[in-house]
C-alpha cells in the first residue's frame, strides 16, 4: 500500500513525493486486480496521469495544490462529472455525460485530489450488495465470492483493494456504512445538510447524503473537511462552515457517555454481536462511561424507510422519461414512449421500488402507508433525542452479518432490506454515523462497529471512532 492519504498529501505538498509516482502505484494495483473485483464503471487513467503531472508541476513552481494534493480518489458513479459518463449503473443513463460537476467533485479537485475513476453501485443506489448494477456485480476484495455490500460497493471495494487512497459514496439508508463494514474500511454518513448534494443524482432527497470511505479515521476526517461546508446550490445545505475535526482525533474518550441500545432489534449474528461487546469494553477501558438507553422506535425504522425512500424515489426518478437525456425507446405517442423507455432502461429493483413508492403515495393508500411512515419517522427522531440526553454517542453493529455470498439474497428482496436494519434510523433522523472496522467475524471477514451521534456532533463521533481504531491497530 502507499500509506494514508494524509501522508501522501503531506509528501506531495513538500515535494518529497511525486503525485505521478503515487498514482502509478495505485494504477498498478488496479491493473492486477480490477478485472476480478470490478470496483469501477470507468477508470480514467489518462486523465489521472495528466492531473497528477499538473499537481507535481504546481509544487515545482512553489504553489500548494491543497490538503489532498496528489491523493488518488474514486467517485461513486452517481456524482456528476462534467464530460465524463455518469451512469448510476443504469442502462437508462448509459453514455450520458453531465454538463456540470457536482459540488463535491469540484471541492476535491480544488483540494488537489486526483480522480482515478467512477465506481460501480446498485442501480440508482438501490440495494445493499452492488448486485443490482446493470454492468455486473462488484466483488469483495477480502473474498471475491462475496458481495462488498452496497449500494456504494464499488467505492468501498476500491479503497479496500488499494485501488485508491480514499473515495466518495452516498448513503440513503446505510449505503456508505454497510459496504464499509463488509469491506473493512472506514465509512462516514455526515449530518444531513453537512455536505452539498448538488450534482448527486437524487434517490431519496430527504435522506441522501454524500460521505467518504478511507482506510483510517483521520483520512475520513480529512476528506470530510474538504467536501463539507455550505453550498448555495443546495437549498438543504447547512449555512455554516465545515466542523474542524483535526484536533479531536487524539482527545480520547475519558468521561464520554457511550449508549448501548437495550431494545435494539435482534438479528445480528453472534460474531457481530461479540465485536460490538468488545468495542463497548474497549471504550470503557479507555475511560468512557457505558450507559443503557432505550430507542423504542428504532425497530420501526425499516418499515418507515422502505415506504419513504421508495416514495421519494418514485417521484425523483420520474425525470427519466426519454426526453432530455439518456435512453429513449421510440413510440408513436409520448405516454407510450415514457413507459417503453422506462421498461427498457430500469432494472428489476428500481422498478420494484418505483412501484412500491407509487403505491404508497397513491390515492386511497397515502394515509395508510406514506403518511403513517412520516409519523413513525418523527417517533424515531424523538426517541433518539431522548436517548441523547443520557449519551453522547450510541454504539451498534453496522451490518447484522459479515459479507454474504454473491447471489444469496437476490431472490428475496426483503432479506436484502434487512441488511439496513441498524443503519436506516440514522438517515431518517438526519444524524451522522460512522462505521469503523473492529476486527473480524466468521470466516475472518471484516466486522464494522457503528458510532451514531446527534445532529452535527461529528467532532464527538470522530473522537470515539478514533479511539476504536487505536484499539484495533495498536
Amino acid at each position: 500500500m502507499s500509506g494514508p492519504a494524509s501522508d501522501i498529501a503531506m509528501g506531495v505538498r513538500d515535494g518529497s513525493r511525486s503525485a505521478v509516482t503515487v498514482l502509478e502505484d495505485y494504477l498498478a494495483r488496479i491493473d492486477a486486480r480490477e478485472p476480478r473485483i470490478h470496483a469501477f464503471n470507468v477508470v480514467l487513467a489518462d486523465e489521472a496521469r495528466h492531473r497528477a503531472a499538473d499537481i507535481d508541476a504546481l509544487v515545482a513552481n512553489g504553489a500548494d495544490p491543497g490538503p489532498l494534493a496528489g491523493v488518488p480518489v474514486a467517485l461513486k458513479d452517481n456524482m456528476c462529472t462534467r464530460g465524463v459518463p455518469t451512469t448510476c449503473s443504469s442502462k437508462i443513463l448509459e453514455g450520458w455525460r453531465p454538463p456540470y460537476d457536482a459540488t463535491v467533485v469540484r471541492r476535491l479537485s480544488e483540494a488537489g485530489a486526483v480522480v482515478v475513476g467512477k465506481t460501480n453501485l446498485d442501480e440508482f443506489a438501490m440495494g445493499s450488495s452492488t448486485e443490482n448494477s446493470a454492468f455486473g456485480p462488484t466483488r469483495n476484495p477480502h473474498d471475491p465470492t462475496r458481495v462488498p455490500g452496497g449500494s456504494s460497493g464499488g467505492s468501498a471495494a476500491a479503497v479496500a483493494a488499494g485501488f485508491v487512497a480514499v473515495s466518495l459514496g452516498s448513503d440513503t439508508g446505510g449505503s456508505i456504512r454497510q459496504p464499509a463494514a463488509l469491506c473493512g474500511v472506514v465509512g462516514v454518513k455526515p449530518s444531513y445538510g453537512a455536505v452539498s448534494r448538488y450534482g448527486l443524482v437524487a434517490f431519496a432527497s430527504s435522506l441522501d447524503q454524500i460521505g467518504p470511505f478511507a482506510n483510517t479515521v483521520a483520512d475520513a476526517a480529512l476528506v470530510l473537511q474538504v467536501i463539507a461546508g455550505h453550498d448555495p446550490a443546495d437549498s438543504t445545505s447547512i449555512p455554516q462552515p465545515a466542523a474542524d475535526l483535526s484536533d479531536v482525533l487524539t482527545e480520547g474518550v475519558e468521561g464520554v457517555r457511550v449508549g448501548r441500545i437495550v431494545d435494539l432489534p435482534s438479528g445480528a449474528d453472534p460474531d457481530v454481536d461479540e465485536r460490538l461487546e468488545a468495542a463497548l469494553e474497549t471504550l470503557q477501558t479507555a475511560g468512557a462511561k457505558i450507559v443503557d438507553v432505550e430507542v423504542p422506535a428504532f425497530t420501526y425504522g425499516l418499515t418507515a424507510y422502505y415506504l419513504i425512500a421508495p416514495a421519494e424515489a418514485s417521484s425523483n426518478l420520474a425525470r427519466y422519461d426519454g426526453v432530455r437525456y439518456g435512453l429513449r425507446v421510440d413510440a408513436t405517442e409520448t405516454n407510450a414512449m415514457y413507459a417503453a423507455t422506462r421498461a427498457e432502461g430500469f432494472g428489476d429493483e428500481v422498478k420494484r421500488r418505483i412501484m412500491l413508492g407509487t403505491y404508497a403515495l397513491s390515492a386511497g393508500y397515502y394515509d395508510a402507508y406514506y403518511g403513517k411512515a412520516l409519523k413513525v419517522r418523527r417517533l424515531i427522531a424523538d426517541d433518539f433525542e431522548r436517548a441523547y440526553q443520557h449519551a453522547d454517542v450510541l454504539l451498534t453493529p453496522t451490518s447484522p452479518t459479515v459479507a454474504f455470498p454473491i447471489g444469496e439474497r437476490t431472490d428475496n428482496p426483503f432479506a436484502m432490506y434487512l441488511c439496513d436494519t441498524y443503519t436506516i434510523p440514522t438517515n431518517l433522523a438526519g444524524h451522522p454515523a460512522v462505521s469503523v472496522p473492529f476486527g473480524t467475524g466468521a470466516g475472518r471477514l471484516p466486522v464494522g462497529v457503528q458510532v451514531l451521534a446527534p445532529m452535527l456532533a461529528e467532532p464527538m463521533m470522530f473522537r470515539v471512532a478514533a479511539e476504536l481504531e487505536r484499539a484495533v491497530t495498536s
Partner: protein
C-alpha cells in the same frame, strides 16, 4: 434472514393501475412477481399498524423547511448546446418528442 411470509399478493388491477401511474410498462411476469413481492413487503410493514400516531406530527425532512433566498443577480447557467447534445432527439434548439396524443391512424 426472515422466514418467507405467506402474504396476499396485490391484485392485478392494483398493479396495473400503479404501473400506469408510474409510467412503467410491465411484462406479465413482472406484474405477477411485483404483486407477490409487494404483498409480502406490505405484510412486513404492518408492524407499524399497532402504533398510536394520532397526535404525532409527520416528519418529511430532518429540518423544518425554510425559504432560501439569494441576491437577484445573473449567474451563468448551463450551456444550452451542451445540454441539448445529451438529448435523444432535438429540433431547432428544443427537445423533440413524439406527438402527445399519438398519430391518427
Amino acid at each position: 434472514m426472515s422466514e418467507p411470509v405467506a402474504a396476499d399478493p396485490l391484485s392485478a388491477d392494483v398493479i396495473a393501475k400503479v404501473a400506469k401511474l408510474a409510467r412503467l410498462e410491465l411484462t406479465a411476469q413482472e406484474a405477477d412477481r411485483f404483486a407477490r413481492q409487494l404483498g409480502d413487503m406490505l405484510s412486513h410493514f404492518a408492524d407499524i399498524d399497532a402504533l398510536v400516531l394520532d397526535d404525532v406530527r409527520p416528519m418529511s425532512q430532518p429540518y423544518a423547511l425554510r425559504n432560501v433566498l439569494r441576491d437577484d443577480t445573473v449567474d451563468p447557467g448551463l450551456d444550452r448546446d451542451e445540454v441539448l447534445a445529451a438529448a435523444p432527439a432535438t429540433e431547432d434548439h428544443r427537445f423533440r418528442v413524439p406527438p402527445i396524443r399519438g398519430v391518427a391512424p
